[in-house]
C-alpha cells in the first residue's frame, strides 16, 4: 500500500551481539590452516542471525577440527572420537530450542563415526553439520565418496560442499545450511599446511578441477566469485537424482548446494512432543493409554 509497507520493519532486538560475543579462546590451529576461516564463518553466521550465545551449542568429536567448541563463546561439548553426532542429536532431542552446530573431521565422521553419521542424516534433526575434510581424494579412508553416501541416506534434506579458501562461497553456503530446518551436511574441503599440504595446494592451483553449481534456488554469489571457477553447472538443488549424478562424477569436485529439501520430516519435532507437559499430565496420559489394555 502507499506508504503502508508492512515489510518495512523497524523491529529492534533486546540484545545485540557482535562477533566478539561468539569468540571464545584464542585459536591454536596451525598458521595457514583452513579451520581459521571456517571458524570465522561460523562466528559471522551467528552474528548475522543474532542467535543468543547462551542458546547455542557447538559439539565436536576428536581431531583438529574438533577444537572448534573451545573457540566459541557458547555452550560446547568436546566429545569422544566419532561420537559428535550422537551427542548433538541428544542435545537437540531434549532442547529443540537450542541452535546446534557440529564440527567434525573426515576421520571422525566418515570412519569411526560412520554409523552415527548415517543415522543422524536419517533423523534429520535441526543441526548444522560441518565436516572439515582434509582428504578429499580419500587418502586416509578406503575409497568412499561422502557425498554419494550422504545423498543415498533416506530422509536427507541438505547436502553441500565448499572449499575453505573461498570466503564468499563459504559464508553463503554455511548461512544457507544454518537457515535450513533439518540436518545440513556441509563438507568443507580444508587445507592442512602441515600434514597434507599438497592436497589443498593442488586444488588451489587447478581451479578447473572444481565445478561451481549455480541455480536460482542454490547459493547466490556474485560474478567476481564465479570468475574464480572456470567450470560452472546449472543444478537445481531439489533434484536428488541429478545431485547423485554430480556427486558420483569424479572428474570435478562440485561446489555449492547439491541437494535441498526443506520439507523432509524432522525427528526433533517428534521427540519434543509433550515436552511442555508436567509430571501429572504425563501420568494421566500414560494411564489413559494403559486403559486401552484394561479388561
Amino acid at each position: 500500500m502507499f506508504g503502508l509497507k508492512g515489510d518495512w520493519s523497524l523491529e529492534v532486538k533486546e540484545r545485540y551481539f557482535t562477533l566478539q560475543d561468539y569468540s571464545g579462546a584464542e585459536p591454536r590451529w596451525c598458521t595457514g590452516c583452513g579451520d581459521h576461516g571456517i571458524l570465522a564463518a561460523v562466528h559471522r553466521v551467528c552474528r548475522d542471525s543474532q542467535i543468543k550465545p547462551e542458546n547455542t551449542v557447538a559439539v565436536s568429536g576428536i581431531g583438529c577440527s574438533s577444537r572448534l567448541p573451545h573457540y566459541m563463546n557458547t555452550y560446547g561439548f568436546h566429545g569422544l572420537h566419532g561420537r559428535a553426532l550422537p551427542v548433538a542429536c541428544g542435545v537437540k532431542s531434549r532442547r529443540p530450542d537450542l541452535d546446534v552446530w557440529v564440527a567434525t573431521g573426515d576421520g571422525d565422521c566418515f570412519s569411526i563415526g560412520a554409523a552415527h553419521w548415517i543415522h543422524a542424516m536419517r533423523y534429520n534433526m535441526d543441526i548444522t553439520l560441518l565436516v572439515f575434510d582434509t582428504h578429499p581424494s580419500g587418502a586416509l579412508l578406503p575409497p568412499l565418496n561422502p557425498l554419494t553416501v550422504t545423498l543415498g541416506v533416506t530422509n536427507i534434506s541438505f547436502v553441500a560442499q565448499i572449499v575453505d579458501w573461498n570466503a564468499p562461497l563459504r559464508h553463503e553456503v554455511i548461512t544457507k545450511a544454518h537457515q535450513h530446518k533439518g540436518t545440513s551436511f556441509v563438507r568443507i574441503i580444508q587445507r592442512c599446511p602441515v600434514y597434507v599440504e599438497s592436497i589443498g595446494k593442488a586444488l588451489q592451483d587447478e581451479p578447473a578441477r572444481m565445478q561451481l553449481l549455480t541455480h536460482e534456488n542454490g547459493v547466490q554469489v556474485d560474478d567476481n566469485v564465479k570468475r574464480l571457477f572456470p567450470n560452472h553447472a546449472e543444478h537445481d538443488p531439489s533434484n536428488l537424482a541429478a545431485a547423485l549424478a554430480i556427486a558420483a562424477d569424479e572428474s570435478a569436485l562440485p561446489l555449492g548446494i547439491l541437494y535441498h529439501n526443506p520439507d523432509a520430516p524432522r525427528y526433533d519435532m517428534m521427540t519434543s512432543v509433550g515436552m511442555e507437559m508436567g509430571v501429572d499430565d504425563k501420568l494421566a496420559g500414560m494411564n489413559q493409554a494403559l486403559d486401552h489394555f484394561a479388561i
Partner: protein, 570 residues
C-alpha cells in the same frame, strides 16, 4: 508478518445459501443495508477495535518504518533542492556513502533501526527539535543499550560521529503530529525566504550606494562644496600641508557652468533613499490568522499569530497592510534603479508609480512578502466563512487558506489565493487511538477518501491541464488493490486480492460504526458482494446485493465480512 485466519467457526450454525437460516440472514443484512431500524437492532455492530483487514499489520506502528520522522535541512545547508527527507532515508544514504560494503560499520548498520525508533519515540513533542542535539542523545543511548566491549564501542563511536557529520548545523528532526503540516509550510517558507531575502538585501544596499553617489555628485556641484572648510574635510589629514583657502578660491571658478539636478528629481532621489535606508527585514517568516487552538505553536520564533473570528477577511486586511508598506519599498527600489541609470522619465514613470501597488509586484517581489495564512476549519468554510472565503478568492489576493480535513510549494510559488486541505489522520470519537495518525492519513489517501488533488490555474489553459491527480496510489485503477495473506479455515496459507475503498477508511472512524454490521462468521451468499464490485453493478441488481468489506479486530485475529449500510455506498 503473521498471516490472519479466515473466520469459519460458526459455519455450521449458519447454514449457507440453501437453508432458511441463510435466507433470513441475508434478508436481515439487506434490510439493514436499506436502513430499516429493526434490522439495525438485530445485527451486531463491529467492535471498537475493528480495522479493515489490510490495515491489521499496522496496529503496532512502533515496529514499522515509515516516512517520519523527517530530517529538515537548514535553509543554508541544503546542497540540493530538497527541503526535507525521511530520517531513515538520510541514514541509509549516508551509511551507504561512507560504508558501502556490507561489513563496513556493521554494528551501526545493524542498529540503525534502533536509532530511528529512539528518535521517533523522543519526537513525540509537537515541534521540530535540533537534529544534532537529539542525535547525540540517541548515540549515547545506543551505546548504553548495546553495552559493547571497548574495541567495538570505539568503533561504533567513530561511525556514529561520521553519521552525525552528515547532519547539517541547524538541521532539525520533525516527528509526525498534529502540527506537522504547519511546520512543513513554515519550513518551506523559510527556505524560500532565506535565498530571496539575501539577494534583495544586497540589491537594496547597492541602490542605497548608487543614490548616495548621485547626491554626492550633486553636492559636489554646489558652491558650498568649494568652501575652504568643505575642501579641508574632503582632503583629509593632508590638508595641513597646503593652503585650503587658496584651493577653495580656485575651485569656485571651476563649478560655474555645471547643470544641477532638478528639485523634483532631487526630492524623488532623496525620498527613495530614505525609503531604502529605513527598510528593516521582517523577522516574521509567516503570519497565521485565525483561532489557533494550540497556544504552543504561537510561541515559536518567526511565527506571528493574529487572532480573528473571521480569518479570511482579517488575512486579506493583513496582507493589504503589509503589501502597502512593501509597495513603497519596491517602488523605491525601482526608482533607484531608474535614477542610477539616468533613465527615469517623469512623463512615463510618475503616473506608473502613483498607482503602484501589490498587483504590480513582480514574482520575485511577491515572494519577498511575508506569507499570510488563514487558518480555518472545514465547518467555517462550509458555513459562516463561505462568503468571506469567496470574496478572498475573488480578490485574487495571494493569501493562503489552510484547513485541516497537498503540496505547499506550488501554492507558495503562485501569486493567487490558495486553499490547502490537510488530512491530519485523526480518528473520530475514539478513546484509544487504534492506529498511528500517519497511517490513518495514509489510509485516507489510499482509499481515495482524501485523494491528492492539485488545482493550479497557472498550469495551463484547459481544465485538464490545471487539475492533477499525480501522487495518488495506483492512480490508473479505480481503487488500489493489495494482496492479503491469510490462513484459511483448513490451515492453508492463501492470498487474496483486496480492494481498499472509502468504506474501509470509514471503518477507521468509530463514529461511523453504526453504518456497518458484522456478517455472521462462515456465512456465504451470492448476494454479498465486495464494495468495489457493488459500485460497478447495474442499477437493476443494486437492490438485491449487499456490499461488504473485510475487517479484523485485535482479539480474534480472524478476518470477517462486514456489511455496509446504503448510506456508505450511495
Amino acid at each position: 508478518m503473521k498471516p490472519v485466519t479466515e473466520n469459519k467457526q460458526n459455519a455450521s450454525a449458519t447454514p449457507g445459501t440453501d437453508g432458511n437460516a441463510g435466507k433470513d440472514i441475508i434478508d436481515l443484512l439487506r434490510r439493514f443495508h436499506f436502513g430499516e431500524p429493526a434490522a439495525t437492532e438485530h445485527t451486531a455492530k463491529p467492535a471498537g477495535a475493528m480495522l479493515p483487514a489490510l490495515l491489521n499489520p499496522y496496529r503496532d506502528a512502533s515496529t514499522i518504518r515509515y516516512q517520519y520522522p523527517l530530517y529538515l535541512l537548514p535553509p543554508d545547508g541544503a546542497a540540493d533542492d530538497k527541503l526535507a527527507k525521511p530520517v531513515s532515508e538520510h541514514f541509509s544514504d549516508s551509511l551507504h556513502e561512507f560504508a558501502p560494503e556490507a561489513e563496513d560499520a556493521r554494528i551501526l548498520k545493524d542498529n540503525v533501526a534502533w536509532l530511528e525508533r529512539f528518535l521517533r519515540q523522543k519526537l513525540d513533542a509537537l515541534d521540530p527539535v535540533d537534529a544534532n542535539a537529539l542525535f547525540d542523545d540517541a548515540a549515547k543511548a545506543l551505546q548504553k543499550h548495546l553495552g559493547l566491549e571497548q574495541a567495538s564501542q570505539e568503533q561504533l563511536d567513530a561511525h556514529l560521529e561520521r553519521l552525525k557529520a552528515t547532519i547539517a548545523t541547524g538541521g532539525q528532526f520533525l516527528g509526525y503530529g498534529p502540527r506537522v503540516s504547519l511546520h512543513l509550510m513554515v519550513h518551506a517558507i523559510r527556505h524560500r525566504r532565506e535565498h530571496g531575502r539575501e539577494k534583495f538585501r544586497q540589491l537594496v544596499m547597492r541602490h542605497i550606494h548608487g543614490l548616495q553617489s548621485l547626491l554626492d555628485v550633486e553636492k559636489a556641484k554646489s558652491t558650498g562644496a568649494n568652501e575652504p572648510g568643505s575642501v579641508k574635510s574632503s582632503v583629509g589629514p593632508a590638508s595641513r600641508y597646503f593652503d585650503t583657502g587658496a584651493l577653495s578660491g580656485m575651485l569656485e571658478q571651476r563649478t560655474s557652468g555645471s547643470v544641477k539636478m532638478s528639485a523634483e528629481r532631487r526630492a524623488r532621489v532623496e525620498h527613495a533613499l530614505k525609503e531604502l535606508q529605513s527598510w528593516q527585514d521582517d523577522a516574521v517568516a509567516v503570519r497565521f490568522v485565525g483561532q489557533m487552538q494550540d497556544p504552543g505553536f504561537s510561541k515559536l520564533p518567526s511565527i506571528e499569530v493574529i487572532d480573528s473570528d473571521d480569518p479570511c477577511t482579517t488575512a486579506a486586511e493583513v496582507f493589504k497592510r503589509d503589501a502597502e508598506g512593501l509597495a513603497r519599498l519596491f517602488a523605491a527600489v525601482r526608482i533607484a534603479a531608474l535614477e542610477v541609470d539616468d533613465s527615469y522619465d517623469a512623463a512615463v514613470h510618475d503616473s506608473w508609480f502613483a498607482g503602484f501597488d501589490w498587483q504590480a509586484f513582480s514574482n520575485e517581489e511577491m515572494q519577498l512578502q511575508t506569507p499570510v495564512v488563514a487558518l480555518v476549519s472545514a465547518n467555517y468554510l462550509a458555513c459562516d466563512g463561505l462568503a468571506p472565503f469567496s470574496r478572498l478568492l475573488g480578490s485574487r489576493l495571494p493569501v493562503h487558506v489552510f484547513s485541516w480535513v497537498a503540496g505547499f510549494l506550488c501554492a507558495l510559488d503562485s501569486n493567487r489565493a490558495s486553499l490547502h486541505l490537510i488530512n491530519r489522520g485523526t480518528q473520530s470519537k475514539t478513546k484509544e487511538r487504534l492506529l498511528d495518525p500517519w497511517f490513518v492519513a495514509s489510509a485516507a489517501l489510499e482509499s481515495r477518501a482524501h485523494p491528492f488533488i492539485l488545482v493550479n490555474p497557472d498550469a495551463g489553459d484547459h481544465a485538464a491541464e490545471r487539475v492533477s491527480f499525480d501522487g495518488n496510489p495506483q492512480a490508473e485503477k479505480d481503487w488500489p488493490v493489495e494482496k492479503l495473506e491469510y490462513r484459511s479455515a483448513d490451515g492453508e496459507l492463501t492470498e487474496m486480492d483486496l480492494v481498499f475503498t472509502f468504506a474501509d477508511y470509514a471503518l477507521l472512524m468509530p463514529a461511523l460504526h453504526g453504518h456497518f454490521r458484522m456478517v455472521p462468521a462462515g456465512f456465504e451468499s451470492d448476494d454479498l458482494v465486495p464494495v468495489d464490485q457493488y459500485l460497478d453493478l447495474e442499477e437493476k441488481l443494486v437492490n438485491r446485493q449487499v456490499p461488504y468489506i473485510w475487517g479484523i479486530d485485535d482479539q480474534a485475529d480472524e478476518v470477517g465480512r462486514i456489511a455496509c449500510a446504503g448510506i456508505c455506498v450511495s
